[in-house]
Symmetry: D2
Subunit: 337 residues, 4 copies
């Protein structure tokens, strides 16, 4: 059974495993002070043309809870779309660090200045939390992407209102390689206070690279990483992987492949006359299919049924990755023809 369930079904890109092998018996410093972590940070900084600070952690929930809890004072909150990963799929990890999430209803998973403003202006005194950070995901949890102008507007509002902007880039590769995209990594260094570059969902075994652009958020950051159990003794595991991912733009080529596979799925599905729940522009697409077709597909392919549309139709989620094969895509499209 071929799986379109997620973008972490396979292991790592072979270059990464090769690099792990080749460096395996070198003695390196622990806790991210190794040569490879340093080189990987330099490689990323060069790409962003940033003076930011970079830290590697194992996964997205870890990145989110560390960034958010290090930036906020106990009474401050973070604003997120209702669909935001931190709000739904992290078992209350942010609240477990003591902070409220102020949620915004959003059809396409994206925030807008108007909606953020409404939340900010509602919170007026010490009987309420004080919103201090805006959390957005790119791609969003429903596969959409932010345009440069949208991000500029949000960041301008944040800066004028004393809010930090944090971009969750668990699927940043797919976002930046989307046909819809007009943002660069360099832009993210200028249009956010902090963001992360997701490795786990784009070719790494584990690993997210947190990029802190705002100096206020840099102080003693390694203390937060350690306190949350996220400072790996063998930090080389993260450094080596990101060094490979940023060699010869491997990171971008992997995302490009993932998006191409999704694009092929999308075209084939469209050709058969089906619509999509949200614009299919990244490596997550949500076609709306007849329930009996879904049942048939489930016998041969693994994927999530996302939501009911009406009595006869449901939306499913198909996810592609750097490892998705043309054969897999072809087999799926044949099944629905």
């Amino acid at each position: 059974m071929y799986s379109f369930k997620n973008d972490y079904s396979e292991g790592a890109h072979p270059n990464i495993l090769k690099a792990l092998m080749e460096t395996n018996l070198e003695q390196q410093e622990g806790y991210g002070e190794d040569k490879y972590s340093k080189l990987a940070k330099e490689a990323i900084k060069a790409k962003i043309k940033s003076k930011g600070e970079i830290h590697f952690v194992s996964g997205g929930t870890q990145a989110n809870l560390i960034v958010i809890s290090s930036a906020l004072k106990p009474y401050q909150s973070v604003i997120s779309a209702e669909t935001g990963h931190i709000n739904i799929h992290e078992t209350g990890a942010v609240e477990a660090t003591g902070h409220k999430i102020n949620t915004i209803k959003s059809e396409n998973g994206k925030l807008t200045v108007d909606k953020i403003k409404e939340i900010v202006e509602f919170h007026v005194d010490e009987h309420m939390v004080k919103p201090k950070m805006v959390y957005i995901s790119n791609t969003t949890e429903v596969g959409t992407v932010y345009k440069k102008r949208e991000l500029e507007e949000i960041y301008a509002y944040c800066q004028n209102n004393g809010l930090y902007l944090f971009l969750d880039g668990a699927r940043l590769g797919s976002a930046l390689l989307s046909k819809e995209n007009d943002l660069t990594l360099e832009d993210l260094g200028k249009l956010t206070d902090v963001f992360y570059i997701g490795g786990t969902k784009n070719g790494a075994l584990i690993g997210e690279a947190i990029v802190i652009n705002n100096q206020e958020l840099m102080e003693d950051f390694r203390f937060y990483i350690k306190q949350r159990g996220a400072l790996l003794a063998k930090g080389r595991l993260l450094g080596i992987q990101f060094l490979e991912l940023f060699k010869d733009d491997l990171y971008f080529r992997l995302a490009e492949h993932a998006n191409l596979m999704a694009e092929k799925l999308k075209e084939g599905i469209e050709k058969r006359g089906f619509r999509f729940l949200t614009p299919p522009v990244s490596n997550q697409i949500f076609p709306i299919l007849p329930n009996n077709l879904i049942e048939r597909l489930e016998r041969k392919f693994a994927f999530y049924t996302w939501c009911k549309i009406d009595d006869d139709f449901s939306a499913i989620r198909l996810v592609t990755s750097w490892a998705t094969t043309e054969e897999g895509v072809k087999a799926f499209l044949e099944e629905i023809s």
Copy 2:
């Protein structure tokens, strides 16, 4: 410069990398539901002959904070030696989950029933925390090991007094292969409520296997792992490693090698007439050397100076691992002769 700084300077045992390579392109379920995690759990259970529940996480601090915060109610505390890793070297990770650590002074890093009892009997009412868990490390942070009888006494006291016993096994391999040792993995399944088998410091890239023996501590444990950001999307990375470590007793053979290297260092050092801060029985030994010798050694070897003994002498810490070479040991001993 050859390093005796720690047991995580090198990567992973080659078998592990080989297994990662061979399984790399298989599609597996995420979040620890993959085939390899299941097989690894079975392999460990077989070894322990236990009905316990096993969960893999990335590192020791993570294991400690998850186990402790999942077992305790908000007003309950954990008892530890002052030297305990949770008390000194985890940046307040346990307190960050809301719990006090009641500390006990201990020269050799070990707890005894008498000292535990003193703490328990001091806490009498609702103005004080209520001790509910005892935390011990084996090997301890100063390289000593628990005898079976000591563990039996502590566990009997814990059971009679409603306390959980948690054993931190970050260096459990070295403990079980120590010449002093008379415990087995099977014993730990019967003489603790929960413990973990350290992988990071014994041949894995990352990974600790938490073994829950007491059914009270099993409920919804995956929720705790996820909430703390410790549920890896590619959980296979942990499963594959532990499966290799428990194939043909690799885990024990690696620890045996580490201990053997430490034993050789110890013998050579003793031969030159030097003493040790604590009994040198595991892969961490603490020789007391003249300061001028230490200075000379530092030019060729990496290690920590542990503490001052008097104006002329200090104790240093030497750590060996599965990857320590005979050549490294030999070179060190030549330098001090």
Copy 3:
């Protein structure tokens, strides 16, 4: 300027001050172990005909955060209306104890089984929090009250689905004396797992009486109170007040007066042809008035403007209490005639 801003503008009912005076120089045990706290608990239990456990704390936010954080495990959440006091007006106090609030949109401030069920059924695995408690307020934050049948339905659902039901009774007096009401204190002992009887907003200087009906929630409750800084050294202050409030049904007579004053306001306002935002059935009413009238009223009376209705009208909030005078009410009604 006469105030209808809230029900805590004045001090305490004179009986309470008198009792404080008369008992002032008696030596009593500290921390709620005094004679008066014991008598007050007996008096309340007699009224509820309950085997519950009673604890006094200073205020509503304190009661809410202690009850909720003592009942939930770290990954469990509490369900509340969006308008719930814990969700909006407690500066993230519940999240500060580590727990997520799952919110439900509700026009009248009340929850229904259908809406609770939707939340419960949405949370299916360890990537999400696990709802474990339902929080309701009576009266609600918008002045409405629960009918016995509504409460029975909610509690039945909670019991069938392993959820605790917690009723915030900051304004319980007004609820039980509402014309709409068909509940008794005795009912609350049977139809909730835990609730509290608000003193601060019904004649006490400070004080809420937490009543725990469900034995699971009783264990070591004083530890939670102490840990949150809520165990008063001079606990007599709380005991003496509740003893007075439950002497000769003073508590109910005070609420009756508050409701009567609100009823008079309501009748006068209705007579002048104005409508209300929510049914005016308790000591908080929300008339919808022309903006120019509101401006005029603000010169002579203190109250909150609640929300904009359209360009010409807004809803204001008028709150009455045990201390509201007929003269105040009369003056207000004259002003709008």
Copy 4:
């Protein structure tokens, strides 16, 4: 049975009850914005000659947990004597806000620069918490007091090392009126970053006045108070009490009486040839008495037996207050003669 168990056995000084009565029916703003709270703050500021900010809360544990958790970042810790109230008698309230307490062994309950320095210098990197605050009590938990020079030395060290100094003044009245004392309230405004003036143990029903001297600690302080459930709706209760306590130096006169009663006890006990565990200089004294005498005393007086000295002797704790009577003291001394 006459009680020397504590200084909160009686209610409030009559002036306070009188003021509560006289102002009872005035309508005042809620949440500490009332006229009396403002006047009380001015009165205290005038006494301290300070530009500090003042906030009232209900009790000592509340004051401690709010001050400490508002001042520290998640990875920062507070240094305290092992005997410190926050370390022993607050059910882990500080840890429950996420912070470690670094403890110092101290025979007389006081800290010194040497001991503080040892802790600070031990904490060197991100694997350990970072001490950021020093907590001292005056009087200490064993009845001793700080001299001005001791406080100056500690504060100078704190300022030179980036540490906040917080003085717990639950029994500040007794400290300032001790014969040993050479400090003034004005000094405390200059020699600490934040301290509090205890009301509960010196004539108030409840109430502690937190005085923040360091501007860094002032920001949004009311958010912290509210979030912890410590912002009383009828904040007037705290304001009125402190206004009375600072009228005509009532606060100091009450402490003077308490100390005088302790002095008489001390003299009588000394005359009978008994010694003390710690210097008897405040309203808590710890005579060492024969066990059979203690048993006899227990039949007529309430007090705590503090600790065993040897097989025949134990130390007991006697506490006096503003309400302790000459008769009580006399009766006690007669009993031991």
